[in-house]
Symmetry: C2
Subunit: 395 residues, 2 copies
């Protein structure tokens, strides 16, 4: 609310030095909390910036990578650039690539499998890249995800970065949701290999007690971002900017105007402290684990993919062999659950499997809510299965 | 503040019907206040959306125009697309064009002259387009401005649209600042010709009592926007979206997540009412006029370009013929004024002329502040001219 009321317009340092400098401070603090390598911090040669959403973070870094590549191969060859992700990469990735002028047919969506829990396979990525290179195309950018939207799968960052290195590909890690957990030592390993990547984005508005829109982006080489995104109109010229001793965040983002978003993170970090933020993450994970336990104890249900964070992907399957019938049953269950107005769940389909998504994440969620949700799910299940039986008998 | 606290994530209608539906209502209200043609309203076949900043509004419409064109000429011909603006178009326009993959050498910046008050000349635009067509290039998009950043110049929308029509060029009007004044009948003529354009953006955070970031964008053909920007991941699929009877605003913008921004405009419109908003605009203009009067009465000063809204562009010129000396004097004056901490002004250089910019626009500005600023300007001027004389005599 403070951030809204200030209405500071910190497009460049001069317009509001505090807006810029506090952002630099909190982004370095946050990098320390995540144990990111120094190379992503202002205290070294990197730096961070608060974007609106992951879409913007990806778009900005993609443009930086694109312009670096076009400088070598010429702007006329934009049609040769190829970008990579998995079929689980967020839908906004494809959109950002299209926005940046990447030819749609050059946006590779590497298929994932349930065997490796819907993560991007480095081997398959390598094969795809090799085929493109053989075709005379230019590999540009790969987006790895720590906590995919559908099932919170975690791509193997280190192995992907190793593959990409050989081709000079820009590696971005989208840790919008899962990244927040990495402030806890027991989850930090999901970011292993981060020292080899070019950029990382993480949205505290998803799981770190911030409000929309707050997406943190760190880059190793801010110079590339600034080169691709800078503007220099006369009315914004000033001694501080010209001395190159300050950061003008307008050159790190799509738009010009920007709010005092750092204030939010500053308040969150200062008022909770790292230990309390870790507790918040652990408490959500504990509740998700509890729910997972309930599911595992009821033989009518199954966990479709292993739980990583605080999302449980499950389905009702009373041992039926007709999988279309199973899907219909789960669709009915979801509709029934949401129609009660007492819970709200969503679904996804991954690897052809329709599943329900139980997400713990709202600030006020307590164990009793999880227990109530589980009771409701059983109630709905009993009802639906009874109907099915009646229907079967009638038939 | 309410908007912040809600943390509604209205990416699609289902996620929060109120977020979407209130936005549709206020955008139609606002269109009515501006006397926009029906074709820009949801009540007809158009519609509006709240973006973050003008940069995003331009980027989204540019992508819609680009993809429509590429469908005809093929994606490999992206290098042939040409976009147009004047040398006074906002710097973010060039940036948005680069983001969208327009080849930098195809971004035309038509030069303006002081003779026509730094507005985009339709004749020159036509000549530029004709030359491009003769070169086998494809004219794509033109951005006209109602209230340029440097001097609040107003491009002739109607004449520009007439030129563009013959080539099927998408016409966007950036009325970020000047557009707000058009809710007053005496300023509405600046939007004449709007019925011929494709899209219009206006940022109430500049001059209509809203906070950052709030940029209103209206389009005549939302289908083109949706076609270029839609995503359709499984986890967001729902009956309402599939029935195509609702608006999913995620397909009208760069990112996926979005806040309850409509609430701000709703509160502004409902709590002030049109008449009070008009008074607010008129009061700022009256104060700027008063300042303009002060300048005109002091022979040491000159108004460089005619005032259109609430910005006065002036310079100190004690009849010196050495224009570099005049520029140095004005630079010194600006530095002195801002160093007092009692006012804050900026400068610009247009048509080679260095000028100071006196902007009335802060909510709490009253006549007495304008009078105090003018006194301060005279104080600085007296001081500087005295120094100059001493310096001259010493020499």
């Amino acid at each position: 609310m403070l951030c809204t009321a200030f209405n500071a317009v910190g497009f460049n340092w001069l317009a509001s030095p505090a807006v810029t400098e506090l952002e630099m401070v909190v982004m370095d603090w946050f990098a320390q909390m995540l144990k990111l390598p120094k190379s992503f911090m202002f205290s070294d040669t990197g730096g961070g910036v608060i974007q609106g959403t992951t879409s913007e973070a990806i778009l900005c870094t993609l443009i930086a990578a694109r312009d670096r590549a076009l400088e070598c191969i010429g702007v006329d060859n934009i049609g040769k650039l190829v970008v990579y992700g998995s079929d689980q990469t967020h839908s906004t990735y494809t959109k950002a690539c299209k926005l940046a002028g990447i030819v749609p047919s050059n946006i590779r969506s590497v298929p994932t499998k349930i065997d490796n829990f819907f993560t991007l396979s480095p081997e398959l990525l390598k094969k795809t890249i090799e085929a493109d290179v053989a075709d005379g195309l230019v590999p540009l950018y790969v987006c790895a995800t720590v906590g995919t939207t559908s099932t919170t799968a975690v791509d193997p960052v280190e192995a992907i970065a190793s593959v990409a290195k050989d081709y000079g590909i820009w590696v971005h890690v989208d840790a919008a949701y899962g990244g927040s957990a990495c402030i806890c030592p027991e989850f930090r390993h999901y970011l292993n290999g981060v020292e080899q990547i070019d950029s990382l984005s993480l949205s505290p508005h998803k799981w770190l007690l911030s409000y929309l829109d707050c997406c943190c982006l760190w880059v190793k080489n801010p110079g590339l971002l600034v080169k691709a995104l800078s503007t220099n109109p006369e009315y914004l010229k000033n001694k501080a900017s010209e001395s190159q001793s300050v950061v003008d965040y307008k050159d790190w983002q799509v738009g010009t105007g920007r709010r005092f978003k750092a204030l939010r993170l500053w308040l969150i970090f200062r008022s909770y402290g790292v230990a309390n933020l870790q507790s918040h993450i652990r408490s959500d994970v504990r509740m998700a684990k509890m729910f997972e336990g309930f599911i595992k104890l009821d033989p009518r249900f199954e966990i479709v993919v292993p739980r990583r964070f605080s999302l449980v992907c499950f389905r009702l399957n009373p041992g039926w062999s007709d999988l279309q019938k199973v899907e219909r049953l789960n669709r009915k269950l979801l509709e029934w659950l949401n129609s009660t107005g007492r819970v709200y769940m969503t679904h996804t389909i991954v690897g052809g499997v329709y599943m329900l998504r139980f997400a713990v994440g709202a600030t006020l969620t307590e164990e009793r809510h999880v227990i109530a949700a589980w009771k409701l799910i059983r109630e709905g299940t009993d009802l639906l299965l009874k109907e099915e039986n009646v229907f079967c008998c009638e038939r």
